[in-house]
């Protein structure tokens, strides 16, 4: 086992898969000589050449359309969106096209493409370098959406995404890149896309989360444990397909559900999870279903005070868990 950061895990997964299969290639803005603005592809151009580590012009729609076309020819492209905030010009190719290719050709064509998107806030990114973009992709049948929280998951899930024949939106929380360290096996491994992971078992309240916020949930769970409250923390890991079985099992056990995410609350992933539990675990619920999410403003403003006001934190999460436990 080696300890590494999330960005190192991403880099390691990319490198292994590029070595394993020469149809795999990365493309995007500044991925070449620069090694990507977050250095996900640092050193790659030297080892794989500019054809497989392709600097593109600054034009997201074409990055996605070209990746898609290359996938039609049997390549396995990994387009990078430099920041999630800049994915919008490309979403027609993702939502209107990539997601529908297999369905719309009645199974004739497939899209073995993994779209890497650094996302999320807490890094003083302001309105245009902090966005959470998962809700749109989550709502798009035909896509897979993966949101690893640790290096172990980032590496194992990214490798699976690259090997998958479906278009995968791979969302890497920027703040976890260097902040979150963890053990990663030395030997080759993959993690299946789909299953959630119970990061902390508990019996009083189910806390469902993903990405950076999941770590805050773990911190909150540790805090409330001091008050004798046992919170179970479910790390979704994959948003689409959603592991409804694990969520429901946990909720049926605890009878109380809190969903935590950084994305705006209205119409976010938390709404779907709440709807799921309110339908399929209704008879087990002992308390109103709660969500602690980003407020409904565009995203984290730039000023430190405003950014702090936006983000869910271990403290606010712990308070909410305690409130629910006491209900």
């Amino acid at each position: 086992m080696a300890e590494m950061t999330v960005i190192e895990a991403v880099r390691s997964a990319l490198r292994e898969e590029m070595e394993r299969d020469d149809r795999v290639f990365v493309m995007g803005e500044d991925v070449g000589q620069r090694g990507g603005v977050f250095l996900a592809t640092q050193g790659f151009i030297e080892d794989f050449g500019p054809q497989r580590v392709m600097d593109t012009p600054l034009a997201e729609a074409s990055i996605m359309g070209i990746a898609l076309g290359a996938a039609f020819r049997g390549m396995r492209p990994i387009p990078e969106v430099q920041f999630s905030d800049f994915v919008w010009p490309s979403v027609n190719q993702l939502i209107g096209e990539a997601a529908r290719v297999h369905y719309g050709t009645n199974g004739a064509l497939k899209v073995p493409m993994t779209v890497r998107i650094p996302y999320g806030g807490g890094i003083r990114g302001g309105l245009y370098h902090s966005q959470n973009v998962e809700a749109l992709f989550f709502h798009t049948p035909g896509l897979m959406v993966v949101t690893p929280s640790t290096p172990y998951e980032a590496k194992g899930l990214l490798k699976s995404a690259i090997r998958d024949d479906n278009p995968v939106i791979f969302l890497e929380h920027k703040k976890t890149y260097r902040l979150v360290r963890g053990e990663v096996p030395d030997e080759e491994y993959t993690l299946p896309i789909g299953p959630a992971d119970i990061k902390r078992a508990g019996s009083d309240v189910t806390v469902v989360s993903y990405g950076l916020a999941m770590h805050y949930c773990l911190a909150a769970a540790a805090t409330v444990a001091e008050d004798g409250i046992s919170a179970e923390v479910v790390d979704l890991r994959t948003l689409k397909p959603l592991d409804t079985a694990t969520i429901l099992q946990s909720v049926r056990k605890t009878g109380k559900l809190l969903v935590v995410h950084e994305d705006n609350v209205s119409g976010g992933i938390g709404a779907e999870i709440a709807a799921l539990a309110a339908n399929e675990a209704f008879d087990y619920l002992d308390a109103p279903i709660a969500r602690l999410c980003g407020p409904d403003v565009p995203t984290m403003p730039f000023a430190q005070t405003l950014e702090d006001a936006y983000m869910p934190s271990p403290e606010t999460i712990a308070a909410e868990v305690l409130r629910l436990a006491a209900y």
């Binding site: 012009p57 070209i66 898609l68 020819r73 390549m75 209107g96 096209e97 050709t105 064509l109 479906n166």
Partner: protein, 352 residues
Amino acid sequence: MTQAQANVTDAEPGIAIAGIKDGPPLPEGLVAADLVEVCRQMILVRAMDERIWMMNRQGKVPIAASCQGHEASQLGSLLAAQKDGDCFLFPYYRDLAIKMAAGLTPRQVMLSFMGKEGEPYSGARQFPLQGADLPRRIIQISNVVAAGLTQSVGYALGCKMAGDATVTLCYFGDGATSQGETHEAMNFAAIHKLPVLFICENNKYAISTPQESQMVVSDVAARAEGYGFPGFVIDGLDTIACYEATRQGIEHARKAGPALIEMKVERFMPHTTDDDDRRYRDRDALDAARHYDPVSVFPAQLVERGIVTPEEVDAFREEAQQQVNDATDFADAAAPPDAATIYDHLYVGEGA
């Protein structure tokens, strides 16, 4: 074909075929039988196109875009692709002639327009003839205008990476040139000198919007220079000119990277069966344009040249009607897809 040649549709389209008469008997790579076959296809496609429109009026075809007026450009360029033998096509929704001449049977086409089981492009999930026909090396994922351009460029990139000699042909209308993605596609193709040939079927309208409201320049081809590759303007009603331009374009693309060929065509019918073009189109101009209808002009020229007889042309027409009748009856009687298949193929590995 000359670079940055002026708009030639004002000239009489018929004259270009005079090249056969005056110069060498047939352009490079062609034998007489090729032209006869194009003639047969053209007649069949027109019969089909007309029938489809009629079936719409009868409530059996929900939507159709007619290729009437585009046949010369489509069949001429397709012939060049077929002669080349290693081309991959990204057509657009108006390219019925390409899709048929590439090998679909009239029955398959009619299944498609009627949305029946056995529909060859999408299993009747999409508008007619949208999706993919991989056996005939055709992809057209959607009818989002211009979305196919970057995909075709990506396909060409994939071919280059894989070491294929394939040239990718990408078809689109004048309307598509306004989309940002068209710019992005051309720029990227140029940077990587990808083997892709951009073919603009300029019928001077995007639905009701005339070319003057879409651009200031008179030729789309004028944009090519800004990307650093050649652009050509061709009489798109002249089958042989379209063949020859495409043949040269394919050669260029394989050797030197992208080129843009603008084929000036006419849209004889409303935009689709849903449209009423009397709101915006001058009838006299349209009637005048019909004098250059390739489906009249081309057979007549072949007859004049002694390449086919009038009797053969008549036989083509008769055969076409029979095939179209057969296809209509067949598709009309065919079953629609089973409702239970609605979830199939959402993800790879799911469904039949």
